[in-house]
Amino acid sequence: MIPVRCFTCGKTISTAYEEFKQRQSAGEDPKKILDDLGLTRYCCRRMLLTHNEIIDELNPYQ
């Protein structure tokens, strides 16, 4: 699962992840999406850019 807040500054970034994921898979430039989502600091931007979602791989095992 995406971390609730940015590790560095504490901004709630998890709310932006769903939209980021959708728009990125639609082929949009990540820079533009992050700017639209209001993530101005590079600490918050890396949270979304470098996240790897593995909950679906874990879900078969309780």
Partner: protein
Amino acid sequence: MEIQFASLDDAASRFTLSGASPAFANALRRAMIADVPTLAIEDVRIYDNTSALFDEMLAHRLGLIPITTDLTAYQSRDACSCNGAGCPACSVTFTLSAEGPKVVVSGDLIPQDPKAVPVHAAIPIVKLVKGQKLVLEAKAVVATGKEHAKWQPTLVCGYKNHPVITIGDTCDACGMCVDECPREILTVKGKKVAVAAGKLSECSLCRLCERACISTGIGEEPAIKVSAEPDRYIFVVESDGSLPVKEIIKRALKHIKGQSDELEHKIREISGDDKK
């Protein structure tokens, strides 16, 4: 001492504090971060959890959810009459029960007090697939950032000295400093370099322009000089949404005042001078 706001809304603020000592500026910063209380989930009672995340992982994620706090209705746990045991005056209970398939979000938490709700309703907590279940009860308490960062009401909270840029007569408008400045605050105006209108406060005092000026072979002294005003500060404060920025600043100032009054009182007591 004077505070002048450049911008102020519930989420973020930028203001200038003038006529204050460096110690006071830092005290204000520290008070805003660590001495203003907010609500955050502290105790979680888990009745059923068959999700892919461990109980402690869930509790950690719940703890980080910012909760709208009305400080007139709640008070800090240490100052509460229940002595930190947790009563309706210093804590709120949330219940959550969900069954997969669904993504459990912060909006699924049902609060006991309709005013103390998560700031964002769309924070994902855990993804459940078919057959997985989650039932829990969470207690949010009022405490300060001193104890744990989840109680900090601020995100970005910092200050810098107000910059002063002076351009001497030796400036020949070569434009080297203009190209060097990472914040693009300098421009060439006529036969001299000048600071672009309204951009002075963006200067980070990096002094790259001074170095660029010397590298042109102007001599020992650069024509452009960057210095800091010693008693004027630019503050940037951002809130996580639990409290409006204005409230954070007010509470922090009140806290500093309370502490200094207490110190004064203690000193009077020790010295035996009870005169007021």
